[in-house]
Every structure is written in C-alpha cells, then in structure tokens.
C-alpha cells in the first residue's frame, strides 16, 4: 500500500514537472507548425499543421530572414572560436596554476573567479564603449573576446578540480626522464584532463551560441548578426510573422539541444565536479 502511495505521489510530481517544463517548448514547436493565417487562433494544436514555415525559413522567404544562412554561419563561427579559445586559454592557465607550484597562483585564481561576482549585464555598458575604443564593434571579435573572458574562469576552475585526480608523481617522473614543461603539458596534462575538456568545450559552445545581450549590443549590420539577435528583431514590428520566427527558432535551438544531450554524462559530472566536497 505504501508502495502504491509512493508511486502516486511521485507520479503527480512528475506530471507537474513535465507540464511546467514542456509547455513553452511544446508551444514553440506547435506555433512553428501553424500556418501564418492561423497564428492568432490560440489553439492547442493547429487545425492544418504544415511545414511551410520551415520551408520559408530555410529558403529565406521573408525580409526578416534575408540573411538567415549567413547569421547561422556567424553563430557557428562565434561558437567555435569561443570554444577553441576557451579551451586553449583555460588549459594553459589551469596547468600553470595547478601543476607548476607557483607562489602567485592563488592570487590569479581568485582574480579569475572575481569575474563571476560582477553581474554580467552590468559590464555591458562600459564594455560597449571599450569595444568601440578597440575598434572592434560590429565585428565578431568583440563578442568572442567577451565570451572568452566570461567562460574562462569557470573553465579554469573545473579543469583544476579535475586535474587534482591526476597524480603529481606523473609530472615528477616525466621530469626525471628529461621532459620539458611544454612536453609535460602536451603529453601528460592534456590527455589526462580530456574528459573535462569535453564538458568545458560544450559549455563554451552553448554559452556562445545562446548569448543574446552582448551580441545585441555589439553587432549591428544585418549580415553580421548572430541568430538570436535576428530573432529579436521580430518583436520590433507588430505585423511580424511569429509563426515563421518560431520555425527559425526551432532550427536554431536544435543543435545545442542535440549537443547537450549527446554529452550529458560528461556535463553533469564534469560541471558539478568540485561544487560538492564529499
């Protein structure tokens, strides 16, 4: 009896969780399958569902979507550039701070973590001006550099937590065999922290792919926008075709969701490593 009661209780929670979580996502997909003429019907499911919106989005059949492919490419470029730079910068820094026994290592670590204590929307206004001074406004570098600055401290922290499980004796014996510091980094450190590189790489890709505020502030010409900024433009006019926007939004949402779920195992263990001292 108590077992049945337990299942009923858990089942009830599960239903609430699924409705709460799924409703906005379901609504997005539903709207993307709704013909534009029925956008205002407010139905639970369109009377005549069609893939017309997807066809229009992929063939850029609306002024809002004139640069859809370029913008997708921009999003891809920004995401991969951010990912590559975060992996490079964070792995060298975490190696130096964690494995070389430097006196000033704790200072750099604290300095890096300090980045997270500034609410990100706050840095946006001065950063906009500063990017203007660096003459890279409306250029992908402005976005990439900002994203690298925000993703790296976390990346360093996760990699250092992970590297604690790699025995320091490995470095020592390599040194005895005459290995140089770059050799230890490349042949011992990198292969051994590889799982955390997968988690961090994914984290950086998703962060860059999803970023809205900085992209919205820094990028201005249409062919240079990333996809979320273009989608945001749909709200600026009242007669914008929201069903079409939702179809583009679904196309834009699929890669990160697919990526997230394919490396989910690495993500959960990788990114929560060290948040709990057991």
């Amino acid at each position: 009896m108590t077992r049945v009661l337990r299942q009923v209780r858990l089942g009830l929670i599960a239903v609430l969780v699924i409705v709460w979580t799924g409703l906005p996502i379901y609504h997005m997909v539903m709207l993307s399958l709704t013909p534009q003429t029925a956008a205002f019907a407010g139905r639970l499911w369109p009377d005549t569902p069609s893939l017309e919106n997807y066809r229009l989005a992929l063939t850029r059949g609306h002024p809002f979507l004139a640069y859809f492919w370029e913008q997708l490419l921009n999003s891809v470029l920004v995401a991969f550039a951010t990912c590559a730079l975060v992996l490079f910068v964070a792995s060298t820094t975490s190696f130096a701070l964690g494995r070389l026994r430097l006196r000033w290592a704790p200072m750099i670590s604290n300095m890096a973590l300090f980045t997270y204590l500034i609410p990100s929307a706050f840095l946006a206004i001065p950063l906009y001006r500063v990017m203007g001074q660096y003459k890279i406004l409306n250029h992908p570098w402005s976005l990439i550099l900002s994203l690298v600055a925000f993703a790296t401290p976390y990346a360093i922290w996760v990699m250092r937590q992970y590297a604690e499980s790699v025995p320091y004796e490995l470095d020592e014996s390599a040194r005895v065999d005459g290995a140089t510091v770059p050799q230890i980094f490349w042949h011992i450190y990198i292969p051994l922290i590889a799982p955390s590189l997968v988690a961090i790489g994914t984290y950086a890709l998703l962060l860059a792919w999803n970023e809205y505020l900085y992209a919205f502030l820094f990028l201005s010409s249409e062919s240079r926008l990333t996809v979320p900024v273009m989608l945001g433009h749909f709200t600026t006019s009242d007669d914008a075709p929201w069903t079409l926007m939702m179809a583009s939004a679904v196309i834009y949402s699929l890669p990160p969701i697919a990526l997230y779920y394919s490396v989910r195992r690495f993500m959960v263990t990788g990114l929560t490593a060290g948040s709990v001292k057991s």
Partner: protein, 290 residues
C-alpha cells in the same frame, strides 16, 4: 644510475624552479591579457563613467527608477528563494533511482539546454491576453475571459519571475542533487532502522548536510540574478509603461534607448550596496571551501 639521477635532480633543482616560473608566466599571459582588456579596464572605465553626481540626481528623481529598484528587490527575494526551494524539493524527487524518473529528468533539463530567447518569446505569445493559447483555453474550458497577463504590471512581473525560475531551476536542481548524492547512504539506512519519519530524515540528515551548499547557492544565485537581463527584456521589454524594469534592463534603456551612457552606468552602480556585502560573504565562504 639512480644516484646520478638524484644528483642531476639536485643540481638542476634551482634552474628548474626558475624555468617553471618562466613557463608559468608565459602560460598565464593569454588569460591575463583577456582579463585586463575585457574585465579590469571596462570596470575602471565604468567607474569613471558613473562618477558624475548629476547622473544620480537624475535617476533618484525618476519615478521609473524607484519602481525599478523595488522590482529588483522583489525579484531577488521572491525569484531566487522560490527557485532554490523548488530546486531543493525536486532534487529529492530526482534522488529516486527509478528508471522512469530518470526519463523525467531528461525532459526536465530542456529549459537549461534550449536557447533562452526562443523559449521566452514562446512564453510571451502563449500569454498574450487576446490571442494566446492560455487565455483561449481558459475561455473554451471555463468560459471566462483570462487575465490581461502582460498588460497588468503586477501580473507581467509575476510572469517574469516564473520565466526566470523556468530557465534556471534545472541548473540549481542538479547542483543540489549532486549535494544529496554526496551524503553517505548508511546515514539513511541507520535512520530507517531507527524508524525515522520522512520529515525527521530531512531535518536531521539531509538538511544539515546540504545547508552550506544551499546557502552558497542562494548567495551565488542572487548575484547572478541581479544580472538577469533576458527574462525581463525579452518577455515584457520593461513594459507596460516601464513598470517591470529591473536595474539591468533600466541601465540598458538609459544607455542605449535614450543614449545617456553615464546614467545607464550610474543605474547599475546603485545596486552595489546590495551586491558588495553578498560578494564579501561569498568570498569568505568559498575561501573556507564551502
């Protein structure tokens, strides 16, 4: 042979330390460069921009600012605590190892995996009081005209809070779940043998073990939520009648919609009396390894 190696190690030890330090500097330089150019300099520049007292006179006499400061406070207190309490509760749900609960967990992670903007726009359309799905359902099922969700400031702000929770609940649930996983199982077994009730188990085993993590999470989440621009900007745009702004969106509004950058910076600086104490407490806690 081993003597020679030992001798070599002793001989090269000082040189090694030096080369380690040199390599350390070289390897850290890329990050320090990014940090200086993208974090330190903009902060200092922001302080210069926000140092004009006139900007503060201007915002403190603006009724929109006062409403927005109040909103920010309500947002932080209600959204953060409700989110963490729900996360604490749901981490208990996902602690169960039944296979079907794992599948629910996979669905539950969607808001975290999906990009923010499309999801918020979807919520925005769904709650449109004239043609949205929610009011349409209310009308057809109950025959009532649904509330004017995004037209009434208080309701709109409630939806902002719900949207924020929707997006960030999975993340904090995972963190607290990881905390629960770290509690040794035999504590629970011992409690079962003693015939403890569920409430007692939570009160005497789970909560004491999670307490520090829970408090640190609340503080971190508070700081990050001060910077949550998307939940407000994409759902209501600060409207209706600028009644749902929080400091981050109002700062952007002053700086870019009105073109007054110093006032925009001043707006976000006024949150420092709230943010700095939390940061100080957090640094102490994190420094102690909690």
């Amino acid at each position: 042979m081993s003597n020679r190696i030992a001798a070599a190690r002793i001989q090269t030890a000082p040189g090694r330390v030096q080369s380690d330090a040199a390599w350390g500097v070289i390897l850290v330089i890329p990050y320090v460069v990014v940090f200086v150019f993208v974090v330190v300099y903009p902060i200092l520049y922001g302080m210069v921009l926000g140092s004009n007292p006139d900007s503060y006179r201007k915002i403190f006499s603006d009724p929109i600012y006062l409403r927005c400061a109040w909103n920010t406070l309500v947002f932080l207190i209600v959204a953060v605590n409700l989110k963490l309490l729900l996360a604490l509760f749901l981490s208990g749900f996902f602690y169960n190892t039944d296979t079907w609960i794992r599948w629910v967990g996979i669905v539950f992670l969607l808001p975290w995996a999906a990009p923010t903007l499309p999801a918020i726009f979807s919520i925005r359309w769904m709650f449109n009081s004239e043609w949205g799905m929610i009011n349409n359902l209310l009308f057809r099922l109950l025959g009532i005209d649904g509330p004017l969700w995004l037209v009434k400031p208080n309701l709109a702000f409630l939806l902002v809070i719900m949207t924020h929770i929707w997006k960030f609940l999975p993340f904090w649930t995972i963190i607290l779940l990881a905390g629960r996983m770290a509690i040794p199982k035999d504590h629970y077994e011992a409690a079962n043998v003693d015939g403890a009730t569920r409430l007692q188990v939570f009160r005497f085993i789970t909560f004491p073990a999670l307490k520090n993590l829970y408090i640190t999470s609340t503080l971190l989440s508070t700081i990050w939520s001060v910077g949550d621009f998307n939940s407000v900007y994409l759902l209501t745009g600060g409207g209706p009648w600028d009644a749902t702004h929080v400091l981050s969106t109002l700062g952007i509004r002053y700086a870019f919609n009105i073109g007054d950058i110093p006032t925009g910076v001043a707006t976000v600086i006024t949150s420092l009396p709230l943010v700095i104490p939390i940061v100080v407490v957090l640094i102490r806690r994190l420094g102690r390894g909690e």
